[in-house]
């Protein structure tokens, strides 16, 4: 058997090949800095086990502390802090028989997590953890204790939940019902029937969820009333579960359709922004300067940034961390905007880390 040597079918000096090589050189985190932080006090405690650490839910409280939950062989609830003398993820424990976390909500006085098992979804309360210790010098705290609040709706999995602005109430949805949880008492009330598809969004005074067809239901927080088919979604592919982001300053909501088209929503009308270069769009969050960041694409997600003023979308490449831990990031489950303009993504993968993303600083506008 003889073989001719392969002749390449390209001109190495062509603009296309040069552009391709330039693109390859920027395939990871094209802007800003990513830090993959393990689910532990690095060097001091063990992280959440490999197959119990898919981070699927995050929220942040007024102290800038992040609480979250994992999915896998067991669901864990954790607290995390990255400012001052912290730099820790503290595993608060597991809920027996539960294998996924649908939502974690920072309430006024404590955290309420929603976890699922074969029997259905349940609410669990976690007292706020005193994370603001001196984690360089000396620390001391007791392990937190999780409190079971019970099933949300009998036999139904919780799909998502979100805290209202006062943080006294959580609004959640199972596969078939909307419910509320009183943060202080832990009392769960079923509000009415509505499908649970995708994440919920907290607007100025109402919670929105994906209804049948191309509509949203609205739960009015003040009146406690559920309005089915309250909002029509704009033209788009509304076949996939929705993800949302919230601009804390403007109150605007953001979402995406199954094709990756990005929209803003002011609770009455939608505005089409740009389109992410991959679909589906996963977790998204908004920085204080109004930029929307998120991940798009299955299996190997790409970070993107949308300028919500112009609608332009930029591909920021595959996530990679060379600080704290050296790691590629492929799949992400949730996102929150951090205290000082950073973003925190929960990695929905074996050995999941919290990924802090520090976006590139943009120029001051006159």
């Amino acid at each position: 058997m003889t073989t001719m040597q392969t002749k390449p079918k390209f001109d190495p000096n062509s603009p296309e090949i040069k552009a391709y090589l330039n693109d390859l050189g920027n395939q990871f985190v094209r802007e800003g800095t990513m830090v993959a932080f393990p689910t532990c006090l690095p060097g001091m405690t063990t992280p959440i086990p490999l197959d119990e650490s898919r981070i699927t839910a995050l929220d942040i409280n007024s102290d800038g502390h992040v609480y979250g939950g994992t999915s896998g062989q067991q669901a864990h609830i954790f607290g995390a802090a990255f400012h001052h003398l912290t730099g820790i993820v503290l595993d608060a424990g597991t809920v027996a028989g539960c294998t996924s976390t649908a939502a974690v909500c920072c309430g006024a006085s404590r955290v309420i997590a929603f976890v699922n098992g074969p029997q259905g979804g349940r609410a669990v309360a976690l007292p706020y953890i005193r994370l603001a210790e001196d984690w360089i010098q000396e620390w001391g705290l007791r392990p937190p204790v999780l409190q079971e609040l019970g099933e949300c709706v009998s036999g139904e999995q919780v799909v998502h939940a979100i805290a209202v602005p006062t943080r006294n109430t959580i609004v959640g949805v199972t596969t078939k019902h909307v419910f509320t949880v009183d943060v202080e008492t832990g009392q769960i009330n079923v509000v009415g029937e509505a499908p649970g598809r995708g994440h919920l969004a907290m607007g100025r005074s109402a919670v929105f969820g994906q209804d049948d067809g191309t509509q949203l239901w609205r739960f009015d927080v003040a009146s406690g009333r559920l309005h089915r088919a309250a909002v029509h979604l704009p033209d788009g592919e509304w076949t996939a579960p929705l993800r949302w982001a919230h601009n804390r300053d403007s109150g605007l909501l953001f979402t995406a359709d199954a094709a990756g088209q990005l929209f803003s929503f002011d609770e009455s009308k939608f505005r089409l922004l740009g389109k992410a270069h991959l679909a589906p769009v996963g977790p998204i969050a908004v920085t204080p300067d109004g930029r929307l960041f998120g991940f798009c694409g299955a299996e190997m997600a790409n970070l993107f940034c949308c300028d919500t003023a112009s609608g332009s979308v930029t591909n920021l490449g595959v996530a990679a961390s060379v600080l704290e831990q050296r790691r590629y990031g492929y799949q992400f489950g949730d996102a929150v905007a951090g205290r000082d303009g950073e973003l925190i993504f929960g990695e929905d993968d074996n050995g999941g880390h919290l990924w802090l993303y520090f976006p590139k600083i943009t120029s001051i506008r006159a």
Binding site: M1, T2, T3, Q5, T6, K7, P8, K9, F10, P12, I17, Y20, L21, D23, L24, Q27, F28, T46, P49, L50, D51, Q73, L278, G297, E299, M300, N302, V318, R326, R327, Y328, Y330, D349, N350, G351
Partner: protein, 450 residues
Amino acid sequence: MGSGQIDRRTFMKVSGALAAGLAPAAAVAAEAKAAKALDETPYPVKWYPFTEHPDSDTCWSLSVGPDGRIYAAACAESVPGGVVKPVRYNEQRDDLDYLFNLAEKVDDPGDSGRASQCKIHYSFAPSMHDGVLYMATHLSGPPIDLPVYSPWYSWHDAKRCFRGSALLAFDTRTDQVLWWDTLIPKEGCRCLLHDEERGLLYAMSYPRDHFIIYDLRTRKRRDIGRISSINPQALFLDKKHRVWTSSDYGRLVRYTPETDRLEISPGLIAHDPNYQTGWHSVFYDVAPSPDGECVYASTWCPNPRLMRIWHNQGDWPRVEDLGPATQPRDLSFPIDMYDDHCGGLAFGGDGKLYYVASRWRDAKYNPTPESRKQNEGVVWCLDPQTLKREEVARLEHPTGLAHYVSRGAVDHNGDLFFGHVGNHPSGIFKVSMPADRKRKNAHLPIRMWG
């Protein structure tokens, strides 16, 4: 980097250009001619270049087949559209037989426009009951019309993305490919293992580092999930049918079929505790001891470490650090991992462990004369009883490099073979063993992983 020294990445780029038509054919021919016994020591060494696959630039897989013969992969990863061709050492002709163009066998030719079926990476696995040698392909070879390939960049590109690791069942009794399947869509297979009793193949995917199980009976694949970011380069099996590998942070990773879970060990595998944390101490090569009670391993890490792991003992096994495999060096600089390397672990018919460790000229730590090559591949023999090691041979390439050995194996006659990475064409070394160190069927009990 001194003159004559070349790092692997540079090598790949340069060799790609050579493959693009710049390779002087005369040099290749001269090299082939010069392939002859170079050493009259008790361990004569001979180089067998893949002259009939001139695109080849690496040999990542070399294993003994179920028939006791030596199989190797003539890989072409730096060549656009390059393909892998399995070869076999023919002891009658004292030469290589080129078995087939693997890309053609799996209907994924080199000019498909996708990343090509360019190599087999530590992924030969024998099947003793039927004489089959399983082999799974790996990625990195660029499409025919692109200079390089990135699986991250092209993951979502249907035109460019690697179709997936192709798994072939090659019947060594009839020299026929019995069947093939896609083992891992879009990803390469970094290493492969066969649990023959249970009819399962185990693989590590690249780049996502997922642990894959393939049921040979149903030909169905299961993805057990991700381990880390750096691929481990070896999997191994214990008596309880548990499969072992390593994580990025130098911990053992164990898959237990009964629990269907991946677990991480509390302890670290061998590394230099003076300045390393265990990070990047992933397994490079693992050889089973003939009695099956332990394995010997080296790491894919600067200052590769040798160790012995008693995987049948205790909840988590005892790891014996056998020390560094290569020479001292300046620890303040991250040495090129192509220079500092240890691989080719194989047990000889004499019950001793053989492996190849690199050695290089260093003004302070190893001031060898200029008459010697900058980089050398040293064949070591380690006595498992005394743990004493002895240098028994030096690999010699007529004109090129001889220090980066990927895998080693002993054939049924008891001779040693090593796959080598870094020449163009690439090839394998044969180290003929002294008569008193050989035995019939020295390859048994056979290693079940690549």
